[in-house]
Amino acid sequence: MSSKPAFKVLGKDTPRQDGVAKVTGREIFASDMAFPNMLYGRILKSPYAHAKVKSMDVSKAEAMGAVTLTPGEIPDIKYCPRLVSVPSSTYKDWKVLAEKGHYVGEPIGAVAAESEEEAQRALESIEVDYEVLGASFDAFDSMKLGADLIHEQIYLEDDLIDVKNNIGCQLEITEGDPASLEAADYVIERTYRTNRRYHNQLETKSVLVRPEPDGGVSIWSTTQTIHNTRLLIHDIYGIPMGKIRVYKVALGGSFGSSIHVNPPVTVAVGLALKSRRPVKLCYTREEDIRDHCAYQIIFKLKLGAFKDGTLAGGQMEAYLDIGAHQIQAYPLLGCVVGWWVSLYRLPYKEYVGKAVYTNKVPCCAFRGYGNPQTTWVVETMMDELAGMIGVDPLDFRLKNFIGEGELFWGQGPTVKSIIRSCGVEEILTKGAEMVDWYNRLKPEEQTGRYRKGWGVGRGFHTSSAGAPVPSSIIDFGGAMLKMNEDGTFDYVSALMDHGCGTQDAHAKIIAEELCVPVDKVNIIRADTGTTVYDVCTHASRGVYSGGGAALKVAGKVKEQIREFAGRILDAYPHAVRIRYDEARGQAVVYAEGIEGREVTYRDVAETARQKNWGTAASVESYRQPSCPPHFTGYFVDVEVDTWTGKVKLLRVVAGADIGTVINPKLAAGQVHGGFAQGWGMTVLEDTPYDPESGDLMNGGSVANYKVPTTCDLLDLEDLTVFFADTYEPTGPFGAKGLGEGALNPVAGAIANAIQSALGVRFFQLPITPIRILEALKEKEG
């Protein structure tokens, strides 16, 4: 149970500072920006899944007045666009413009012209001579002996290494006593195949680059990290860092697709440097869908259990079909095993993970980073195993989950910490009560057209990749805070807000610490030149790590306010107290019990100015001490139409343990969104390939890539969200993350509900109406 202090600002619903701009359409995104004399860029893409560019003739495009960019005009550097891991864990196989297309859609050239239409016409005039090579669209085909190598050599840090069997990287881990698994009373072994989902973030990847007179560049781009953008542009183009200014601009959604630096950025910098004019480059939706997707994973999982309902151990093989390039495949291999072994206690675990190249769109992190995939597999098998043992699947989970006081290594084997707050039991028991779990309908009780079923799924995600010791993942941030002369505060940080209200959470943490209402804390948009380093907004670290940095600077500023007020009040700084005075609209620093010995923040700041004491301000870097999991659980009730295969949601109860809840409605919104995305993952989304054209079966059209809308979900009164009563001692005011945990167990819960309705289990995602009818035909004829 928690020992939460009483909060004044946290836990209350407050409007977002960017709310009005966003709902009135006045927010400016990178794609809205323009500069005088600006050119529009377009990228030439490989039309083949695997083909060498033998020659490229851009003379017609140049005759049309376009500026062109070919591979030879860019520094010959292989890089990894994601700079979150330490160099010794970073594989590099990317170039700004490739001399060989490794997938349909790979950038091989570029143009810039006075309008997007002119740029498009110039692009179409480029003549390329290709040598078409053999392509693979399946990880197991790629690994076959004699298959064409997609990359022959790649770099690991600065070492050139040979690629064998198209395996980009691999990881093996074994822990515990194999005898435990051998002694298991029940064993299940199965193969699972996940889908290849497109993020479908609202804003397609966009950038505006302005070359500066000093030889530098200013960049406004779709990104989750301004500092890593600067690092990469420095690495590729050699521009001194101080001359690269990457500005924060509102992010129109990302879901992990902009953790790495996007190809439009690296290309547009090249075009801007060559043309000496600002260049704007916005992906069309058809380019965006051929730019990134979630990691598709084929799992072989074996789990064993004893008669008493405890797990004996397991073996997992994970084959990552990563597409044509590595973005963060190697760290993911570590995370997949981390996600797996941190769900339930396994006395023995054996893991082999392989990341395999295919001639498909490169995979990158997508909300949950392999965790939704892994949890779907584990939660599906946990249900099946419970049925085999004859225990209720909920009781089986309660008996085996990893909770408080236990070792946790969600972010992989190099990121370990001890769990200090855990709401799993509360989520599962309270949820079960709410849905009357133990009296639910069973599949064998149903016949006829419509069949109903309840399913449960639980999971977690890490809040950041912090730990007591350094790991292979870089994870720290920073913040700046200063008091203004009217007693308000300006908060500056490099941390990007994906649209989740993360920076507003920081403002609330600062407000809580400084005893002011949240509207006294202004969120200032800054750039790489005016902020200290923050690694990236990912790993659900925004509130936990970014909030930790915000709390750290708020504490330092508070000390200075005490110091200044102490001088004014002739009181000891450590003894003065602070309260908020509604009538004056000011926080007041006072010496307790002595009448008249008080001063407002405004007067503190103004006195400090007049007496030349300085500004109460602080700039700090912050590394969080731990990597606390936030836990979630879903109970889902579905109805399956056995004539059409359509699955309808009837009721959902979701529980989340996120420590202190900072903004309840926004937090519930994260759960709603996580559920919606999980629903799409489970029943709808996939990007299969046409082996003949080598392109996506959907032809790049989102009209053929369906995601659920609000109309396809359920009414909010049927989607209950509750928060566990927990407090994370290492988090800012007890807070943890939520973004990814909100999605991770959804597919497992829905898949278990479908199983419970039909008595049929699915081992491939998505579970489409077509697959449901096929499975029913097999079962019932």
Partner: protein, 298 residues
């Protein structure tokens, strides 16, 4: 090369734009430019198709300047709906809701409100998609298509309008001006059923049914199916077997088996395999007829 060409954002092709103010002016342009001309009504299909380079017209003939083409009115023979009537207008029209609820139900199923605010019934039909959501109900109510050309106006049953493979019966210089729906039989009930992967999706299968009852037995019966054959079709055999019978489970079983024999989904349609469309066309036909019977009983 198409990956570098096809998108839904940039329109790099050049064309001449015409905004005629009358029907005669319109058909003259269509006659003059023939296949080089494309009619712009709502633009919800034409513009994406142009950006996707599926069509590259040299002349765009915007007919929105002919307001009489947007009418929805009662005439002695039934109800007339102009080709420019917005799907949203059909969805909300009190006249359509009262007299032809099948059409408002079908219109409501198309895309989003934003799409329906732009898209027109004429465009939906002339686009010649087998899955057009307005085609099936218009077939089920035996609508007539009005076509105007230099030689004057003519009309014919909509069932004769679809040639399949994305083609409709329109000659050079011809323009669809609207649709007339004859009075439905007294007390007729109707229903529209559709399955798509999401609410905003186009139909994987759609079915429209109109039924009237006499002494508890099915009298009039029409069933139209979309997206399960190269063109929208009528389930003639199923209609026949239901006429004169009580809407019993057995009669329905027989009828939907006949539905399954008349649909011809294509293997190359990527959205769903033929077997899925066959099975769901049966399910949806049954649902549509059942709901139409219930409506007729009210």
């Amino acid at each position: 090369m198409y990956v570098n060409k096809v998108n839904t954002h940039i329109l790099p092709i050049e064309f001449e734009y015409h905004a005629p103010k009358s029907l005669d002016e319109t058909v003259e342009l269509l006659e003059k430019y023939g296949e080089d001309a494309h009619v712009l009504a709502g633009g919800t299909d034409l513009l994406p198709h142009m950006k996707q380079r599926r069509v590259e017209p040299k002349h765009i003939v915007n007919i929105k300047g002919i307001p009489e083409l947007a009418c929805i009115k009662e005439i002695p023979e039934g109800i007339h709906i102009g080709a420019l009537a917005k799907l949203r207008a059909i969805e909300l029209s009190p006249l359509i809701n009262e007299k032809l609820p099948l059409l408002s139900e079908a219109a409501r199923s198309v895309g989003s409100i934003q799409i329906r605010n732009l898209g027109t019934i004429g465009g939906n039909i002339c686009n010649a998609s087998p899955s057009a959501d307005m085609a099936t109900p218009l077939m089920a109510v035996d609508a007539k298509v009005h076509v105007y050309s230099k030689s004057g106006e003519k009309n014919y049953p909509i069932v004769e309008f679809f040639h399949g493979r994305g083609e409709v019966r329109l000659e050079q210089g011809e323009l669809v001006t609207g649709f007339t729906v004859p009075h439905l039989p007294e007390g007729a009930g109707s229903a529209f059923e559709k399955i798509g992967w999401t609410t905003l999706d186009i139909a994987t299968v759609n079915v429209a049914a109109v039924v009237s009852l006499k002494d508890g037995k099915i009298d009039h019966c029409s069933i139209a199916l979309g997206a399960c054959s190269p063109a929208p079709i009528r389930g003639v055999l199923a209609e026949e077997i239901l006429r004169g019978r009580e809407p019993s489970a057995e009669a329905m079983d027989e009828a939907v088996e006949l539905i399954a024999t008349c649909v011809e989904p294509r293997e190359r349609w990527r959205r769903a395999p033929p077997e899925y469309r066959q099975r769901t066309s049966k399910a949806l036909a049954r649902d549509a007829v059942t709901r139409a019977v219930e409506a007729a009983r009210r």
